[in-house]
């Protein structure tokens, strides 16, 4: 308990910066951390004891926590004790000497029915208090997911925010020359493990997006004969299209309840936003002005939609009711604003911004206030929210190069290549798995 306020304060700093307090208030709070830099929390995660995968599970947890930027896992070479018994209190005096503030220990047991049981405890080293004691049981091949669930539990207990590690990412793997890129839909765990292809690359795929409450995605396919929007269930491999349309269809995104898909339909060169009810297949037109209207994204309560329109002369962000009424521009900074995505928490809208020859990923409040630019490069595009609404994944392209996946937290301080070595674009982060 003793260190939780420290970390909570760090996260509060991040939030405060976005709320836009007066300058002196910011400086005051900022003084509690060194030069406005988040100090990652030192944490020790020794190899779990017991059968098999103990070191592997610890490695997965360490990598998750370290990648979040909020934790500094301590090198195992420094550990004062090894082969910790989950049933015995750790020797806290020893862990204090290496400055560990938190300690995770765990044990793996193979049950009579072949199932894997993992017990773990999270300790506050300075008070000696047990902060968590949890037990997971699953099939042995699920060991990585158990490690992700433990990571989520530790992250949530120590930061006060929901975790995001037991989740997956669908993205577009790119290969071949620029003029004729082969684009395959792929899925991987959020830490880059278990990548596998969902489409064969025989047609161009773009912009996959997850349903907020299921393992279903929607994406766009583009062939010389035209475009189509697919629904694809990752667990059942069931695939279907939204149907045939006279013009281009693109930019699909689920409503928060998963029952509808909003997307753009182009007719005679003009793109407008429509919504299809997936049960009845009825379509409703939401916009009808002569500008480009695209990239719709629902608020998590389903009541509003943020979208991209150039009706005012350049691409900007607008918010309208989910029935298409009351459209109001929210982006007023200089530059072009595109690909808005509403946070699953509802508190921010992430976007791609193009200004002065550079591209940026940024966030703003749903009313357009408190804009914050998080990244800058030759081409940064297409943010997607981690399920906890604190981290974004996007893709970055260098001049003439192939795109790569990156992550950034909503303070902009923790910017890292995503843990996938290949070329990828258009990431879509899943909700937490069950």
């Amino acid at each position: 308990m003793s260190f939780r306020p420290v970390l909570a304060a760090l996260l509060a700093i991040a939030a405060v910066g976005l709320v836009g307090l007066p300058r002196e208030a910011r400086a005051q709070v900022g003084a509690t951390i060194s030069q406005g830099v988040v100090e990652p929390l030192p944490i020790a995660v020794p190899a779990f004891s017991g059968a098999g995968r103990g070191a592997d599970m610890a490695a997965v947890i360490i990598a998750n926590l370290e990648r979040s930027g909020l934790f500094a896992p301590i090198n195992a070479a420094a550990f004062p004790e090894r082969n910790l018994d989950i049933g015995i209190q750790p020797d806290f005096a020893g862990w204090k000497t290496i400055n560990a503030q938190a300690l995770v220990n765990g044990a793996i047991t193979v049950e009579g029915d072949g199932k894997l049981r993992v017990d773990f405890r999270l300790w506050d080293v300075f008070s000696g208090e047990q902060m968590l004691g949890l037990q997971f049981t699953s099939t042995p091949e699920n060991w990585r997911r158990v490690a992700h669930k433990i990571s989520d539990a530790v992250y949530e207990r120590l930061t006060g925010e929901k975790g995001y590690f037991d989740s997956r990412v669908v993205f577009v793997a790119e290969s071949g020359p620029r003029g004729n890129r082969v684009k395959r839909l792929m899925i991987m765990d959020q830490d880059g493990a278990n990548p596998s292809s969902l489409t064969d690359g025989s047609y161009v795929v773009m912009t996959p997006r997850f349903s907020a409450n299921s393992q279903e995605i929607t994406y766009m396919a583009l062939r010389p004969t035209g475009s189509s929007i697919y629904l694809f269930n990752i667990e059942t491999a069931r695939s279907e299209t939204l149907g045939r349309f006279p013009g281009m269809v693109f930019a699909p995104r689920f409503s928060p309840d998963g029952g509808r898909v909003a997307f753009s339909i182009e007719r005679g060169g003009n793109s407008d936003i429509w919504v299809m009810n997936l049960a009845s297949r009825s379509q409703t037109r939401l916009t009808s002005d002569p500008g480009i209207d695209t990239s719709p994204s629902y608020a998590p309560d389903g009541g509003r939609i943020v979208f991209n329109s150039d009706r005012g002369g350049s691409p900007q962000l607008y918010v309208m009711g989910a029935d298409g009424g009351g459209a109001r521009r929210i982006s007023y900074g200089s530059g072009r604003y595109m690909t808005p995505v509403w946070s699953p928490n509802g508190d921010f809208i992430a976007f791609t911004k193009q200004q002065g020859g550079q591209f940026h990923i940024g966030v703003m409040r749903p009313d357009g206030s408190d804009e914050r630019i998080l990244t800058t490069s030759y081409l940064d595009e297409g943010p997607t929210w981690a399920p906890n609404g604190r981290v974004l994944m996007f893709f970055r392209e260098t001049p003439g190069g192939a795109p790569r996946l990156w992550t950034v937290d909503i303070t902009g301080r923790i910017l890292k290549p995503a843990p996938y070595q290949g070329s990828g674009s258009d990431p879509a982060w899943s909700p937490l798995l069950n």
Binding site: G179, T207, L222, S264, T294, T339, L379, E381, E397
Partner: protein, 181 residues
């Protein structure tokens, strides 16, 4: 399915062939330089004499004819989709050719440079494709012979990342899909 696949492969081959021809066509023609000097040469046996030139040109009404003699690309300004003044003569010639060969059907593909987002560029490419379509229709090409498609920024003709490449990648590409000789 296999028919479609075969057809797609054939189309791809034609597109590749015409694209490479187009690339050749845009290269500057070699200028005559100092060759072997004429004049009295060493005496010897008489050869068959200079070979008569053979004129090579695309079959009228073929895809190659359209690509080389008419031009299958027109270009657009940054963020614009109105037909440029230098594009109008090309599209006039396309329309005349298409009127001359009424069985030809075309697909107009709109393309964008990489300096925009995928989704916005899909919409912008559709505007460009439709601007070309509307122009051809206004010059007497029946709309029933034309389909449009936007590739957005997915199919740059120039892989570079500079102004020159971007200006070439902002285009409307008239692709013959059937009916050529």
């Amino acid at each position: 399915m296999s028919f479609d696949a075969k057809r797609a492969i054939r189309l791809a081959l034609i597109v590749a062939a015409t694209a490479s021809m187009a690339a050749c066509a845009t290269k500057p023609k070699p200028q005559p330089g100092p060759g072997p000097s004429a004049g009295p040469g060493p005496a010897g046996p008489r050869g068959p004499g200079p070979a008569a030139p053979i004129d090579t040109r695309p079959i009228p009404g073929s895809v190659q004819d359209f690509v080389i003699n008419i031009g299958d690309f027109v270009y657009f300004d940054l963020d614009r989709y109105d037909v440029r003044s230098d594009a109008a003569p090309v599209l006039d010639a396309q329309a005349a050719w298409l009127r001359q060969y009424p069985s030809v059907k075309i697909r107009i593909e709109g393309n964008c440079d990489e300096r925009g987002t995928r989704e916005y560029n899909l919409a912008l490419g559709a505007r460009r494709a439709n601007a070309v379509r509307d122009y051809l229709v206004s010059r007497g090409v029946p709309a029933s012979r034309i389909t449009t498609l936007s590739w957005g920024k997915e199919r740059p003709v120039d892989p570079g990342s500079n102004e020159d490449a971007w200006s070439r990648n902002r285009n409307g590409h008239t692709v013959i899909v059937e009916g050529a000789r």
